[in-house]
């Protein structure tokens, strides 16, 4: 040791040699031999996992214009580790999930309650817990193969839609952390946005490549599940109610029918919600603060142009929102899944009443109360 302290250059040389030797021994894979998966699609077929990995080819720099720098690899296996291994063997690439931003699970995954897959991902040290999760209306592989026109591949397009600067009304973005933490609450009541593929016009890039058909994604419905599997689908109206309560809304237009049967579009610029559980009065209280304006302006009697809602329109807006939230609760009762976690919430704040709360018909005794605070922009 004292020799190394005396001759510092020797220490430096040894350190460099040491680093090179160790590096060559730990089998580090160079970037050109890595398959960086930006999105994963998972289906269950005949009891096996069918994994589709949307991989960017590093040799080409991952630029999407031209549409040929991404490739979908597919593998079937009994477990996820094996499926990833098969893709590695077949592609000659080390599949890397460190940059995966979205995981689309097929309907079959939720129907068969394969929640072990989510446990696998959250336990994995390489995948990030803020990766977004969505459920395909049918097969995840179809979503991954979709020909999206906006110059991107399916994963990037989904990512753009699910994580815009502001979440639009009715679009509920769910990440791995939130989904997995809800799996451990109550009866595992949970929800995911549903990805539907709809036909659209090809983009100019696609037209150059003689693509005559293009796909777009629609995500206005929400899949509802519990620990036993898929239980139902919330329609767009219910999804809007859910997004209001779960604080997923930051921007969006809500269409309401006025008292005089007129259609009014209200721009909800921002919303914040807070929930309280009043056990004594059996009330589920939602405090909703909204920043709103009319989508279209109009001339007031004093000839000024205004985007403000009048008192009647505010009352109609409140009624429209109550309808939406009520539809979530009534759907919960219909399918027997406590989507909003109302029972769990009552229990957490009133643990001594556990045996009164955790009954099958407790939800029916609870009344909804929404307190509005509406600020007009």
């Amino acid at each position: 040791m004292s020799i190394l302290i005396k001759y510092k250059w020797l220490a430096l040389v040894l350190a460099v040699v040491f680093m090179l030797v160790i590096d060559s021994m730990v089998y580090n894979v160079s970037i050109s031999h890595r398959g960086i998966a930006i999105g994963l699609g998972i289906d269950i077929e005949e009891g096996e996992i069918s994994l589709t990995a949307q991989v960017v080819l590093p040799k080409n720099g991952g630029v999407s214009s031209g549409g040929n720098n991404f490739i979908n690899y597919n593998a079937k296996a009994k477990d996820m580790e094996k499926a990833i291994d098969i893709i590695g063997a077949e592609s000659g690439l080390e599949l890397s999930v460190a940059h995966t931003s979205i995981i689309v699970v097929g309907k079959s995954v939720i129907e068969s309650a394969r929640y072990d897959l989510f446990r696998y991902f959250i336990s994995d040290d390489k995948i990030n817990d803020n990766v977004l999760i969505a459920m395909a209306e049918d097969k995840a592989a179809d979503v991954m193969k979709a020909k999206v026109p906006v110059g991107e591949v399916a994963s990037l397009q989904l990512l753009n839609q699910l994580s815009p600067a502001k979440h639009p009304l009715g679009l509920i973005a769910v990440n791995l952390k939130d989904f997995t933490s809800r799996m451990f609450c109550g009866q595992g009541e949970n929800y995911l946005p549903i990805v539907s593929i709809i036909p659209t016009t090809p983009s100019s890039d696609q037209s150059k490549d003689k693509v005559d058909k293009a796909d777009a994604f629609k995500m206005d419905k929400t899949a509802i599940m519990d620990k036993e599997g898929l239980k139902g689908e919330l329609d767009s109206k219910g999804s809007e109610g859910l997004s209001l309560i779960t604080n997923n809304l930051q921007d969006g237009v809500i269409d309401i029918v006025g008292s005089d049967d007129r259609d009014i579009s209200v721009h909800i610029v921002d919303s914040k919600s807070g929930v309280k559980y009043d056990y004594k009065n059996r009330k589920y209280k939602v405090n909703l603060a909204l920043k709103t304006s009319r989508s279209e302006g109009r001339y007031e009697p004093d000839n000024t142009y205004s985007y403000l809602l009048d008192d009647q329109e505010i009352a109609d807006l409140q009624k429209g929102i109550i309808d939406r939230v009520s539809s979530v609760i009534s759907y919960s009762e219909e399918i027997g899944v406590d989507i909003l976690g109302i029972k769990e919430g009552f229990y957490r704040y009133n643990p001594k009443q556990k045996y009164n709360i955790m009954t099958d018909d407790f939800l029916k005794t609870v009344k909804l109360e929404i307190n509005f605070k509406i600020i007009q922009r």
Partner: protein, 391 residues
Amino acid sequence: MLNNNTIYNSQFASLSFITMITFKTAMLPKYLASAVGRDSWITVLIMVAIELLMYVAVYYTARRINLQEEKNKVFIAPIMLAIFMLSMVRVIVLYSEMVDYTATTLFDHRRSIFIIITFAPVLGYLVYKGGNVIARLGEILLYVVVAVIATQTVLIQIDLDWSNILPVMVDNGDKVGKGIYNHFMWFGDFIPLLFFSVVNNKNKIMAKISVPIALTVAGVLVVLFFLVFTAAYGGAGILVNYAFNKMAVFNKISALVGASNALSVTTWLIMALLQLSMLIYSAAMSLSYFIKKKNLAIVIVIVAVSLIEAFWVQNVNNGYAFATSWVKWGVAAIQYTVPVILAGYARYKTSKAKLVKNDKAVQTNNQKESSDTEDPVKNSQLNGRKSEVSA
């Protein structure tokens, strides 16, 4: 120039801060989520409070005696043996966490042996350079740690469900107790600090406030971290390895540039290296008390730890099984009694030194007085003054 293990208050504070937070934010949240569930933060609150009391004893000792220079063999030898055993056991457990973290997070193939080989010379060099270098490194690192924590806090973007920590302590008291006695290994980390001797900073304000501020902030941060972790993951916490690393991705930058936890990944690694170097330092220094050769003691400890990690512990699960076996009782006994015994010893020595000093002062005065009485001229003058005073 300070001696090899004599450091300033501010450096002592830096080391204490890093020691207190490093391994509590890695695998412990997962372990406590499994053992205690939503009340894991209460376990941590209790243990951190005990740890702070223990710290008072450690700081009291480090301010008064230099353990490495103590000559009382009958008293010090068993203490050194106990510290050596404790340090080795703790290094074995915590080292397995660091090796596993590096192997799984930074590499594709989990070949931990190469990581052990790589860390061994780094740890050996730090320990060889001694307490001053470790303390200086800790002081420099503290700025980085504070900057990283501040950045993560400002940029955090995570959905927290605070109701995940409710209900508090309902049908869960026995689990909180179990969480405490099964996880002694991750608390009471201050034993290595006994090998440092503390002197005051030149800056008087720094000398007074650095230690209490560092400890208060570290204690609050650790409890807060567990609260946030439970609010974020709820019951899923039992699946989350290396909590600080998983939570670091939830920030506003991630939405723009993808994974952005590099800051916390690298910072934690250096903090872990620093804490392990302190543990190895205390193991080596206590061993050198018996074999009288510091460098040999360092080599023996490093080689032994590396071999144990590579061929016996092998992975973090075995490390946890070892930490929660009967060994935990030995760890608790040593870590909570040694600082108190040493603080008592330090007090005894200080008061004895004061007595000796007083005796010497009295003796000097007596000698002076007796020499004065022998001088008739002085004596008459003194008597004259005395009589003046009495008059």
